[in-house]
């Protein structure tokens, strides 16, 4: 209360706020409250302090650290925070500029000030160390082993004229130390973790993503002026000691990479363009759509470096390659071609990075020595020829289809009913969606719901059934090959309309259903964007319904085998057969065939057939990604 009275008094008595240079001659009078008020609610000030309007149209900063604010009410009062900032500078506190250099620069520019503060050595050191010449937003690709990285990750790279690996990166991360998995999920959903910006060497991120997690890194270089880059760095400096409440889906890494950038380019409303769930790849689209990107670079993962060199080998070279890696020894290393040596080195770097080799183990010691040997032999093969290899790829991540999807299907079933089936999917991608911008064989669907309007023969509305609700479905089709012997796995949590012998209702019953999948997948053919994927799972299934005939809980298991044929990025054919054996029911068979044609990036057509025991449906669908 006292604070409010003080603020009110300040406003009353401040028709003229005097901005002095603390002992210097310069004195700037800001002649009216109106001017201050206008500035306090300008986009520059609001974005610098990360204010957003809440549902009651009141301003609230997304920064949750009180240290960031000079006014006790600063989090919710842009005007008072501005007054306190001016007072702070007026007092010529030695640390004033050091603490808020971006605020100072903005106020100075706005009111044409010319105040000399003593230089801030730490800030100068930070700026001189990074030697930032341009900024890139780095996108490290999808990593399905970790929930926060399922959708990728973004961070800011400070580009200098030095060797790229000595550049710095600013990472926004949640401090999730010393929590268990359940705390991790709940804390992330409800904002219990603190999110910080942190400066670290870029090569650290390369090692983490490219080498350790085998994720590609894409660098989207931004079109910014020197002044904007300088302002960005100073603003980031201000943020280093502050924190945000971190929310996995909303105020996450991708969002706060944008929010920090937005302070330097306030004429863009970047964060306002984000969706209710902020995906890193969507923020790349925002940057590209706003014409803020002038170049895209690609740093492949160790796996992709190996795959690229392996795919360039001819049949004889592949034979030599396998003779080396299958036995971890080779007597004629001196005589094999350079391309095979390079591929073998890439293979061992990907498959057995030194940091995974404990040389006290005999086999690992053998591999380590072979790696050394390969490197040394390769060193003797050619004269030094210094040039940099450029990897190219067309899978630019921002070209992925939009993550929300609305579909409308028109079909007919074996009871001769026509039906209309609307479907909405909140996130993200299924195996049949276009692979443009998404080079992963995986399904990740969150909050998908569909229903069926049954029509009579005269096309009149007859009934409505809920068809499917997916809370979360993930299927990871790991290609099982000599270089990666990983199983495929997945789970499916939600509810669906059960149409088999578990119920005797004509149109089935809508029942909660959970499934786990374990199996193997294999890509038999891959040529650019065309491929042939075969998969085989064992599915464990549990469902519950009061309308089940015998036991209300039905437990079952059985195989699911299928294939996906891709003809380019935009034409896919998926078919699978599933047979489930239940403890208390007859087995059920299901066949599903879907062919999908992506006509443009965000529109596709489906032709689909479902066959469950003797019941079948066939339909035509139109899919809109938005």
């Amino acid at each position: 209360m006292l604070n409010k009275v003080i603020i009110f008094c300040i406003i009353l008595i401040s028709p003229a706020v005097i901005f002095t240079a603390g002992g210097k001659n310069e004195q700037i009078k800001i002649s009216s409250n109106e001017l201050l008020n206008k500035f306090a609610y300008s986009k520059e000030w609001l974005k610098l302090l990360h204010y957003k309007k809440n549902v009651f149209s009141n301003y609230k900063s997304q920064i949750d650290s009180q240290f960031f604010f000079l006014s006790l009410e600063g989090k919710t009062n842009p005007y008072d925070e501005l007054l306190q900032t001016i007072n702070f500078f007026n007092k010529n506190n030695e640390n004033a500029y050091c603490r808020f250099p971006a605020r100072y620069d903005l106020i100075k520019k706005k009111f044409n000030l010319d105040i000399k503060f003593s230089p801030c050595q730490k800030l100068d050191k930070y700026i001189n160390t990074t030697k930032t010449d341009s900024l890139s937003i780095a996108f490290s690709s999808y990593y399905i082993d970790s929930p926060v990285s399922i959708f990728g990750h973004t961070f800011t790279k400070l580009n200098s004229k030095k060797s790229e690996l000595f550049d710095y990166a600013i990472n926004f991360f949640a401090d999730v130390r010393n929590v268990n998995s359940i705390q991790y999920i709940l804390g992330g959903l409800f904002g219990n973790f603190k999110g910080y910006y942190k400066l670290l060497p870029y090569h650290y991120k390369v090692r983490e993503y490219n080498d350790y997690e085998n994720r590609d890194i894409w660098l989207y270089r931004l079109k910014l002026s020197e002044e904007q880059i300088d302002f960005f760095l100073k603003h980031n400096w201000e943020l280093m000691n502050s924190f945000y409440d971190y929310f996995f889906f909303t105020e996450n890494c991708a969002y706060h990479v944008l929010s920090a950038l937005e302070a330097a380019v306030p004429e863009y409303n970047l964060t306002d363009e984000t969706k209710s769930i902020v995906l890193p790849v969507e923020t790349l689209k925002i940057l590209v759509n706003n014409n803020l990107v002038d170049r895209i670079d690609y740093n492949p993962s160790l796996r992709n470096i190996f795959l690229q060199s392996y795919s360039s080998l001819n049949d004889n070279e592949k034979k030599d390659f396998h003779e080396v890696v299958d036995n971890n020894k080779f007597d004629r290393l001196d005589f094999i071609p350079i391309s095979v040596l390079d591929s073998a080195i890439d293979y061992y770097n990907f498959k057995y990075p030194s940091f995974h080799l404990d040389q006290k183990d005999e086999k690992q010691n053998q591999i380590f020595l072979l790696k050394q040997n390969l490197s040394q032999i390769r060193s003797n093969k050619v004269k030094p020829d210094l040039y940099e290899k450029n990897y190219t790829s067309l899978k630019y991540p921002h070209l992925i289809h939009n993550s929300n999807r609305f579909s409308i299907y028109f079909g007919r079933n074996s009871f001769q009913n026509f039906f209309i089936q609307p479907e909405f999917r909140f996130l993200f991608h299924d195996l049949n969606d276009s692979s443009q911008g998404y080079a992963v064989n995986a399904t990740i669907e969150f909050m998908k719901i569909s229903g069926q309007f049954l029509l009579s023969e005269k096309l009149l509305f007859e009934n409505f059934y809920l068809n499917e609700f997916k809370f979360l479905k993930m299927l990871n089709y790991n290609d099982f090959s000599f270089y990666q012997k990983k199983i495929s796995w997945g789970f499916d949590i939600g509810a669906s309309r059960i149409l088999d012998k578990r119920t005797d209702l004509k149109y089935g019953t809508f029942a909660p259903e959970t499934a786990l999948y374990f199996g193997l997948s294999k890509i038999f053919f891959q040529n650019q964007d065309s491929s042939f994927l075969f998969f085989c799972f064992i599915r464990l299934d549990s469902s519950y319904s009061n309308y089940f005939i015998n036991n209300k809980v039905a437990l079952g298991t059985g195989p699911e085998i299928g294939l996906k044929l891709s003809l380019g990025e935009n034409v896919n054919l998926l078919m699978f057969y599933r047979k489930l054996f239940f403890l208390d029911y007859q087995s059920y068979n299901k066949i599903e065939i879907i062919s999908r044609f992506h006509l443009i990036q965000n529109f596709a057509i489906d032709l689909k057939l479902n066959w469950i025991n003797r019941f079948y449906e066939y339909y035509l669908g139109f899919l809109f990604y938005f």
Binding site: F166, V179, Y184, R207, N349, P353, L374, E388, I538
Partner: protein, 206 residues
């Protein structure tokens, strides 16, 4: 049919366990700690557990950070903290808990986490201030340990960003210097048997 289902469940359960075999393994994680000076005493939460180079098993389920202190006469004691973190194969971690290490990085004192379970602690003489050369050496050591494989490949092929970075650290700006330096690096590569060997040999010329 019930027998078939039971058999399938058993097979699938086995698959799950096999796939996480290296993770489950008794709920323990072995970490190794080494230092630039050998024979440094290591204490864990105040209790002496050995001297470097040291391998030590920690429980993954510990919710408390692990605090290691390294001491040796004539050197400034170093205390580093490892925190459990959720990373790696998360969906398995839901069942068995997290790991130590991944959230720990170089910035905590003189510690370099050059691999998921391996830490290198830089002990500094208590009698002398860190010079610019020391700083450069420390940074190079960190860079080389972290990126050993990539550096080896670039030295072998004579090209790449990691080689460029070494050229920059050693101030090799023109092509002739770079080529001469590459021959030096190849010599070091041939004469080094371990990562640590290679790193130490490289540091002699900085």
């Amino acid at each position: 049919m019930k027998q078939l289902i039971s058999l399938l469940l058993l097979v699938v359960s086995s698959l799950v366990l096999v796939s996480c075999g290296s993770i489950v393994n008794g709920g323990k994680q072995e970490i190794s700690i080494d230092s630039n000076i050998q024979g440094v005493e290591v204490e864990l939460n105040g209790t002496k557990i050995g001297v470097t180079p040291l391998k030590y098993e920690v429980s993954r389920k510990s919710e408390e950070p692990l605090s290691f202190t390294l001491k040796k006469d004539g050197y400034t004691p170093q205390t580093v903290q490892l925190n459990s973190s959720i990373s790696g194969w998360f969906w398995g971690n839901i069942l068995i808990g997290g790991f130590f290490g991944s959230s720990t990085d170089y910035s905590t004192g003189g510690m370099y986490q050059y691999s998921p379970d391996n830490y290198f602690i830089e002990m500094q003489s208590s009698s002398a201030m860190e010079t610019e050369k020391d700083k450069k050496s420390n940074y190079l050591r960190y860079f080389v340990l972290m990126n050993y494989d990539r550096i080896q490949k670039d030295i072998s092929t004579g090209e790449g960003k990691y080689l460029d970075s070494l050229n920059e650290i050693y101030g090799k700006k023109n092509t002739a210097d770079s080529i001469e330096f590459l021959f030096y690096l190849r010599e070091v590569q041939h004469n080094s048997k371990t990562m640590m060997d290679f790193t130490n040999n490289l540091l002699t010329k900085i």
